[in-house]
């Protein structure tokens, strides 16, 4: 007999507690399902269900066997899934943090050239989310804000991207391209929410204070930072120059004291998908990231 097929019957009836509903779930009619359960009971030499006119109940034996049946079905599903990934064209899932701005495009283009035989699938999410997904093998490679907790993961070199200091146009008239942090000493700073990357956030805040910033910080989603600056409520930091809209001026920061730092992070080779050449992809991503950052 086809044991897996019959175990599916068993699990469906156990879930639905009703032959008719179970048959619907399995997209079959009731008679072959009832016969199938009987055959399975004969095969195992164990009664799985007690039936009466109104209900179907698991026997004690059935209750003990159910989790084992579920395990077998789950293993079978994993086996099929793994076989599928072996034959399918590889897709590398790359996670990018929103603060990477236009550097993201530069990295992706370089990576696309370097990994010509691989399809790239990009996901944009905050660093903490990306790290969770790398750990659960939801994505293969992530570029994350540094510093972050990368315990148990492989992490590449630190790439620094200088930031632009975004100021409300009316704040202080300064024609220099490069200004000291103190130019914004009394302004609130619009920064991505701390929970997106607590350690990287705190490093920025500590650096601001180290250089005399006395204002507060304001959590703003990365996409909203330019708007917040334009309305005159805060200063902001961005790897990209300000949009040519009215209301914002961008300056380089003297001494490049507030760079955004990024790193390429992957799962350790042993844990994640065993056949994926993660290390090679990660080192390409690392090269692409460092090159894209150096262009800034």
């Amino acid at each position: 007999m086809d044991l897996l097929r019959h175990l599916r019957f068993f699990v469906a009836v156990a879930e639905e507690r009703h032959y008719g509903h179970a048959a619907t779930q399995l997209q079959m009619t009731q008679p072959p399902l009832s016969q199938g359960i009987r055959r399975l009971e004969e095969h195992l030499g164990v009664r799985l269900f007690d039936r009466d006119a109104r209900s179907v109940r698991l026997t004690d034996s059935g209750r003990l066997l159910l989790p084992l049946a579920e395990d077998l079905l789950a293993s079978a599903a994993r086996l099929r899934q793994t076989a599928t990934t072996m034959t399918a064209r590889r897709v590398t899932r790359i996670g990018l943090p929103p603060e990477l701005g236009a550097v993201a495009a530069a990295v992706t283009v370089r990576l696309h050239d370097a990994l010509a035989d691989v399809d790239l699938d990009t996901v944009v999410a905050p660093t903490e989310t990306l790290l969770e997904q790398v750990r659960s093998a939801g994505i293969d490679i992530a570029i994350t804000r540094h510093p972050a907790v990368v315990d148990g993961l492989e992490a590449g070199d630190v790439a620094r991207v200088p930031t632009w200091l975004l100021l409300p146009a009316g704040h202080a008239h300064d024609s220099r391209e490069s200004v000291p942090i103190s130019t914004a000493a009394d302004l609130s700073f619009a920064l991505s929410p701390r929970r997106h990357h607590p350690a990287a956030h705190d490093l920025i805040v500590d650096t601001l204070r180290r250089h005399g910033h006395t204002g507060t910080t304001m959590p703003v989603e990365p996409a909203g930072i330019a708007v917040t600056v334009a309305t005159g409520r805060a200063a902001g930091l961005s790897v990209d120059p300000p949009p040519p809209a009215a209301g914002i001026v961008g300056h380089r920061i003297e001494g490049n004291l507030l760079p955004f730092r990024f790193r390429v992070v992957t799962a350790k080779q042993s844990s994640a998908r065993p056949r994926a050449p993660l290390r090679a992809w990660a080192s390409e991503a690392n090269v692409a990231l460092v090159a894209a950052c150096e262009e800034r």
């Binding site: 540094h146 510093p147 907790v149 990368v150 992490a155 630190v158 929970r195 607590p198 705190d202 490093l203």
Partner: protein
């Protein structure tokens, strides 16, 4: 795993490990809190706690005279931020005072002199005798410092420490890796604390002395920061090496069963000054200890 502990560690930007358990001789009492409590972690200066216990057992056995005077030369003195480590001249004091310097200030010079006298084998024997099978001490503080110097390519300790603290270099050292250096688990540390608090680690007299020495520990920014109450006693031992920040100790509320707690952390940021990470040790400890609090049985 406890999601509230996870939040505390994530918020502080650290990887954390924790175990907390009420101190009791009753083996049927299984109430505890853990967060990767059985995962080995590089222990930094936490090795000084089992070293103290091993030293006390040697005193109990009559092999060491605790009031004998010893002179610690300034030559070949293990550097460190506090205590004899920072002094310029030879220091003469009794052996038990040297031990107390090691525990209250985490004095590296004191610790290495005690380890040299006692020997690693003796310490390993104590770990085995106390059932601390997940704990391995591979050397003293000078050995960890040598690892850091080798791994950073620095020429001396100051340079090595500076390189290790550079956020842009993101250097790793074997001194932070449980596979290469002295290591323990959070659960082994609470097991050791329980043995000390139940007079099982050494003679009752020695255990009482260890508890009193641990109460005099001067650093209050970690475990004790989670229990800022004048009537609550926090006795502990810290461990610090670069981005590793640990403290293990026992928290005693009046008329309550003492709770042993071990919090080990590895910070994302490499800087030496990281008050949020220190305070997270207190917050995590409070989060774990509070549900374990109960009155003493009369």
């Amino acid at each position: 795993m406890d999601s509230r502990l996870r939040e505390v560690f994530v918020d502080a930007g650290v990887r954390g490990w924790l175990h907390a358990v009420p101190v009791t001789e009753q083996v049927d009492d299984q109430d505890e809190r853990g967060y990767d409590a059985d995962q080995p972690v590089a222990m930094a200066s936490l090795y000084k706690l089992p070293l103290l216990v091993a030293w006390c057992r040697a005193v109990d056995a009559g092999e060491i005279d605790p009031v004998e005077r010893v002179t610690l030369s300034q030559l070949a003195r293990t550097p460190g931020p506090a205590g004899i480590s920072t002094l310029q001249d030879p220091v003469t004091m009794t052996r038990r005072d040297v031990v107390q310097m090691m525990m209250t200030l985490s004095d590296n010079a004191a610790a290495d002199s005690i380890l040299a006298d006692l020997g690693l084998d003796r310490l390993s024997g104590t770990l085995a005798a106390l059932g601390l099978h997940a704990t391995t001490v591979r050397g003293g503080t000078a050995d960890s410092q040598r690892l850091v110097i080798d791994d950073t390519g620095g020429t001396d300790l100051d340079t090595a420490v500076r390189l290790l603290a550079d956020v842009d270099l993101a250097l790793e050292s074997r001194a932070h890796d449980a596979a290469y250096t002295s290591a323990t688990t959070a659960r082994d540390m609470t097991r050791l604390l329980t043995a000390i608090w139940t007079d099982a680690a050494a003679s009752p007299e020695s255990c009482r002395w260890i508890r009193s020495v641990m109460q005099r520990q001067i650093w209050r920014h970690r475990l004790a920061s989670g229990f800022p109450h004048d009537d609550v006693v926090v006795a502990g031992k810290t461990g610090t090496l670069g981005s590793l920040r640990h403290e293990v100790g026992v928290v005693t509320f009046p008329d309550e069963v003492p709770v042993a707690v071990a919090v080990l952390t590895h910070a994302a940021r490499p800087e030496l000054a990281l008050p949020r990470a220190d305070a997270a040790i207190g917050t995590a400890a409070r989060t774990a200890v509070t549900p374990l609090r109960r009155p003493t049985r009369r």
